[in-house]
């Protein structure tokens, strides 16, 4: 059980100055600004849940993850994970969690993966029998048996990420934090990793908290979404709810000859070039089919494409909605 209550975190950041004169000036005085990275964050996650933690860059995702891992102490607020405060009982706490930082490696770069695994086993004091069961299961499920003897530096990104995930699970943690594990993965690895995470959650009942930029990950994996923006939880609910809030907006990309089409209520122009138009459409005011029909009636169309909103666009829409 994970429970965060009114967590706040403020960072002080030095301003970098551009230009020669300013660089000299900065030698003697430096200006700082304060960034409210987390603003009164509260949520609870039950055991065995799988949660997607999403939001644009700089929204506070990593800060929250770091607090839950015990790496960072918040300025105020309560964080209770399985009855412990992460930054107070560090050792006991981290024994029960597994962490994958997508952009960094925990494997020793120059030695075979299996050597890293064995050292991790010793670090976590995993019993031999449990280690063996876990290793067999993880290598089979993640399909990494053939590469165990390869040094980490020679692995492809997808292979390495699968090894990273295995490394984080050797000690059978109850909670798994995945901080952008899918970055840069090829389609095959992505699917393999997704299936694995699903299975892990279903069969072992491991609580999974996943941050990602990829809407497809969310759709494939999680039932619950926490959406964070500018340090606040904007939405806590299912994917449907997110779509209800913002996902209805559609983007139409139109290529045409001759005169530009007339813009009606419900449409707004994002980008206009000679012969090309990007329109955001609110289906509540005007249905997609009506909009296309309207445009086609007045303009000579070459091509039309319709797409749903990306996470970024949804968040942008929620920002507008909450006026922050």
């Amino acid at each position: 059980m994970i429970a965060l209550q009114n967590i706040n975190k403020i960072f002080r950041v030095a301003k970098r100055q551009a230009g020669f004169g300013r660089a000299v000036k900065a030698l003697f005085s430096r200006e700082y600004e304060f960034v409210h990275a987390l603003n009164d964050i509260s949520f609870t996650i039950a055991n065995g849940e799988m949660v997607g933690y999403i939001g644009p860059n700089g929204a506070g995702k990593s800060t929250t993850i770091k607090i839950m891992c015990g790496i960072l102490t918040p300025d105020s607020g309560v964080c209770d994970i399985n009855g412990r405060t992460p930054w107070r009982d560090r050792v006991a706490h981290v024994r029960e969690i597994g962490v994958v930082f997508g952009q960094r490696s925990q494997l020793w770069w120059d030695v075979p993966v299996i050597d890293s695994f064995e050292l991790i086993r010793d670090i976590y004091k995993v019993e031999d029998r449990l280690y063996k069961t876990n290793l067999d299961e993880l290598t089979a499920l993640l399909g990494i048996f053939e590469i165990l003897k390869t040094p980490a530096r020679s692995l492809s990104l997808g292979q390495r990420m699968r090894c990273e995930i295995a490394a984080s699970l050797l000690h059978s943690p109850q909670i798994l934090f995945l901080d952008e594990p899918m970055i840069g993965l090829d389609a095959v690895s992505k699917i393999a990793v997704r299936q694995f995470i699903k299975k892990l959650n279903r069969e072992r009942g491991t609580t999974v908290i996943l941050t990602t930029h990829d809407m497809q990950d969310i759709e494939a994996l999680t039932e619950r979404i926490l959406l964070i923006g500018k340090g606040q939880i904007l939405l806590d609910g299912g994917l449907d709810e997110l779509k209800r809030h913002a996902g209805q907006r559609r983007t139409l990309i139109i290529e045409y000859n001759g005169d530009a089409p007339e813009i009606r209520e419900g449409m707004s122009v994002n980008e206009a070039k000679e012969g090309r138009l990007v329109i955001t459409l609110d289906p509540a005011i005007m249905a997609v089919s009506d909009a296309i029909a309207h445009i086609a009636a007045n303009t000579e169309l070459n091509d039309v494409s319709v797409s749903g909103a990306s996470v970024e666009e949804m968040v942008a829409a929620l920002y507008r909605e909450y006026r922050i």
Binding site: F11, R12, T63, K66, C69, G70, I71, L72, T73, D75, W87, R90, V91, A92, V94, R95, I97, V99, F101, Q103, R104, Q106, W108, W109, D110, V111, D115, S116, E118, L119, D122, I123, Y124, K125, P151
Partner: protein, 258 residues
Amino acid sequence: MQLYINYFAINLKSQMQYKVAFFLLTLGNFLTSFVTLAGVWFMLSRFNEVEGFTFSQIMLCFASMLMAFSLAEGLARGFDTFPRMLGNGEFDRVLVRPRGIVFQVLASKMEFSRLGRLVQSVAVFCYAIPNSGVIWTWDKTLTLCLMVLCGSLIFFGLFVVYAAFSFFTVEGLEFMNILTDGGREFGRYPFSVYGRGVLKFLTYVIPLALFQYYPLLYLLGREQSKLYMAMPVIALIFLIPCYLFFRFGLRRYKSTGS
């Protein structure tokens, strides 16, 4: 302990992947202290003695300092390269593992190319031990061991302080070099050479003289008091503030995340 050996093995295995680099670095490390040695030799062949110490006596001091330093540097490289560990996020990984932080940092990086210095210190000992005129009774032998061991621990403490400073500033760390590299370089002569002020500083503030100058006096029979022999052990008190400072830096890191 078992875990430390495992870390040792994985570090060794990693570095043996790059044999040319390893060889060149070892050679380079050998050369860095060799040029210092050559400098001392040149100076002493011109002046014969300084502050009443002869060449072979100074070599005894040089070798113990070098060995102490190279042991600390080789085995506790994690603290020496700590700024990088903070920069690339490796330290966050340390924090999410259920072992002592100091232990993990200590064990995570070992630099075997520092053997270059170690080999040299052994070679210099081979010259200095028979030639320094010391009659090696058990107490003198013990004193020499204490000089090296405690010296190594004090240098380790300085590396911990260095690491702790990098929680606050990454750019400003160079000044610590005066204590670590400087300690090694200037420790080539007994610290009394630098005058009373420096000797006092290195006795009461940064206790480098406690495992170098004072026990050396005992070795050479200039002081009979067993206190001089025990000085290196007393110096270990220095490790307490070093550790506390590291803890203080860590608290700050956990609250700023950078």
